[in-house]
């Protein structure tokens, strides 16, 4: 892997085997700074697994993960997160009994430091809280700041996940099906948020999504996965025209 070009994120020969089953085989991929990459592929292709390996939730059985020129393959989740690698989950993963604001503020506090301090109150006037409120406003959840995260509607939970993610000020973010289960009426709005983050914060974004309109409308390149392997990685036009992609993923239209 040439570090000179220093892509924001790169994986090289990444593999995962669980008890004989090859979940991911020899995936090599580079994502440039401030690039937005779509990841598509049939169910069970290994997209979520790829994210789990990159974020450290799973350890690969082979290969390397490079994050901003650094080999992070052996680093625990929280170190990568602190280094600026953020992610969301396919099924929302929040603190259900804490308020929406608190969910975001905890993330902000960790960024500002002193999250473990017993000497500091998380009062409403401090920088972390201000920051958290801004993030909530950004995804349009200000009016739900006080609601327990578990009581939010499905779509709001997806938005809250993104707010939490933003509060850690990541340089690379991994979005796992952000639109799944969001009402079709809300999809454009959420796409807008993602686009803004990408543009304004200059984040590198990797996004798994089955919603093809969203993917094609947002991303610079599309990576296609199938049977744990990377089939192709190119511009949307090229990828969509690919026969294999059509037969393995898109199928005939309904």
């Amino acid at each position: 892997m040439s570090v000179t070009s220093s892509p924001a994120l790169a994986v090289e020969g990444l593999s995962l085997q669980i008890g004989g089953a090859r979940i991911l085989t020899d995936v090599t991929l580079q994502v440039g700074k401030a690039e937005m990459l779509g990841v598509i592929g049939p169910n069970g292709a290994g997209k979520t697994t790829l994210f789990n390996l990159v974020s450290g939730v799973l350890r690969p059985t082979g290969g390397t993960v490079w994050f901003e020129g650094r080999d992070v393959t052996g680093e625990p989740i929280h170190k990568r997160a602190r280094g600026g690698l953020g992610r969301t989950f396919q099924t929302s993963s929040l603190f259900p009994r804490l308020s929406a604001l608190e969910n975001v503020r905890l993330a902000a506090q960790i960024r500002f430091g002193g999250a473990l301090s017993v000497l500091r109150y998380p009062t409403s006037s401090d920088e972390a809280t201000r920051d958290a409120r801004e993030r909530l406003a950004e995804v349009g959840l200000s009016h739900k700041a006080g609601d327990a995260a578990g009581d939010l509607s499905h779509g709001d939970k997806r938005k809250l996940e993104i707010a939490v993610l933003l509060a850690t000020e990541p340089s690379v973010i991994l979005l796992d099906e952000p639109m799944a289960g969001v009402a079709s009426g809300d999809v454009p709005g959420l796409s807008q948020v993602i686009r803004r983050v990408h543009r304004e914060h200059g984040c590198t974004v990797l996004m798994v999504e089955h919603h093809m309109e969203v993917v094609l409308g947002l991303v610079d390149r599309v990576a296609v996965m199938h049977h744990g392997q990377l089939l192709a990685c190119d511009t949307p036009d090229v990828v969509m025209a690919d026969r294999t992609v059509q037969s393995a993923y898109l199928g005939e239209a309904v």
Partner: protein
């Protein structure tokens, strides 16, 4: 772990169940409430503390609850014991209620306080203050070491490893190595180096005040931690460890802090208990004792500080006074189907506990919280859902 993250919240029933056991939003009381309510809570709390402080000077009788008027040593002894038990329950609350750590070995640190101080006073012939200092360090080191090991696993495994450590402690104490711990018989307090005021029944009121101070101290520490950033992270860790990792924090460290603080607080209570009871007994390190703490916290209401206190006090008073009930004359006259169960205090206590778990989810605090919430809804005030918001 991936499985949890991806599929944990799939079934609606599951989601419901996650909400019920630990801190219900109402459990955090007036914290998030309008400031008028906060003020009322503060005033009521302060008044209660003052009342407790002057109790030894008053002549109040609570027949059936206390053995005599409040100024008598007998009543003060029972009250002081109840306060210390409440303090211990409060330290357990930090573990279980706040951080969601189900430990079966919390008695170990309590016993470390009681036995440690007793041994230092007697064998090492230390003065009271240095002995207290050294015992605190012992408690700290013990909690840090055992916590560091047991927190490497979670759930029932964690409960079992803590149980194992406490059990090892219990075996050692009962084995009486070097005649250090007194085995079954326990240790008597060597009063030579104690200030006069802490010795003798006539001075029970001073021991009572010590107990009260210990309770207030433990309360202050627990409340402080709960409100602090670390406390919020503890609650967050209890809710979703993976999420904590992903925002860049190690749950292990957070849990270890909770474990060690709770352990040291238990050590403090253990020392006070040694002074109050003039001795240490092996029951203090038994698993039963930890289970008793669990019972108290659940009785009072998991996740609620004052619930832990109420649970501790209630349990102690019931435990002490149900004997009196059980041996009362009217029970002796009942037919044996009723008499046998009713004359066993532990049967009554166990049954009460079962009923609370079944019918009062959230314990006493939960029940009060619900009534409170209903009243507030009726009077049109907002439901303080803003958990952990706008503290103090």
């Amino acid at each position: 772990m991936v499985r949890d993250a991806e599929h944990g919240a799939q079934s609606p029933v599951r989601r419901e169940s996650e909400q019920s056991p630990a801190a219900s939003p109402g459990g955090d009381g007036g914290r998030a409430a309008p400031s008028a309510r906060t003020l009322t809570t503060w005033v009521a709390g302060a008044a209660l503390v003052v009342l407790l402080a002057v109790l030894p000077l008053l002549n109040l009788s609570l027949p059936g609850i206390l053995p005599g008027p409040t100024y008598t040593p007998g009543a003060l002894q029972v009250l002081a014991f109840a306060l210390l038990t409440a303090a211990l329950a409060l330290s357990y609350h930090l573990l279980f209620g706040v951080s969601g750590l189900l430990s079966f070995g919390h008695a170990l640190y309590f016993a470390a306080g009681a036995y440690g101080l007793a041994i230092l006073l007697d064998r090492a012939q230390m003065g009271l203050l240095p002995a207290i200092g050294v015992t605190l360090v012992i408690g700290l080191v013990l909690a840090a070491l055992t916590g560091a090991v047991s927190l490497r696993v979670t759930g029932i495994s964690f409960a079992m490893v803590t149980l194992a450590f406490a059990q090892a402690g219990s075996v050692i104490v009962r084995r009486n190595p070097d005649r250090l711990t007194g085995g079954e018989e326990g240790l008597a307090l060597n009063t030579d180096r104690l200030p006069e005021l802490l010795v003798g029944v006539v001075n029970t009121k001073y021991l009572y005040w010590v107990a009260l101070v210990v309770l207030l101290l433990v309360y202050a520490v627990v409340a402080w931690i709960e409100h602090s950033r670390a406390g919020h992270l503890m609650a967050a860790t209890r809710e979703n460890e993976l999420r904590v990792r992903v925002i860049g924090q190690r749950p292990y460290v957070i849990k270890l802090i909770a474990f060690v603080v709770a352990g040291v607080l238990a050590t403090v209570v253990g020392m006070a208990n040694l002074l109050l009871q003039s001795g240490a007994v092996p029951r203090a390190i038994s698993t039963d004792f930890t289970l008793t703490l669990l019972v108290m916290v659940v009785l009072g209401g998991v996740g609620s500080r004052w619930g832990a206190i109420v649970g501790g006090v209630l349990y102690t008073l019931l435990d002490q006074r149900l004997n009196a009930l059980a041996s009362s004359a009217w029970i002796e006259e009942l037919p044996s189907v009723l008499r046998i169960p009713l004359s066993e205090p532990l049967f009554l206590l166990g049954t009460l506990f079962i009923l609370v778990v079944l019918f009062l989810p959230g314990g006493i605090a939960g029940a009060v919280g619900r009534v409170d919430a209903r009243n507030r809804r009726r009077t049109g005030k907002a439901d303080p859902r803003t958990l952990l918001e706008e503290v103090v």
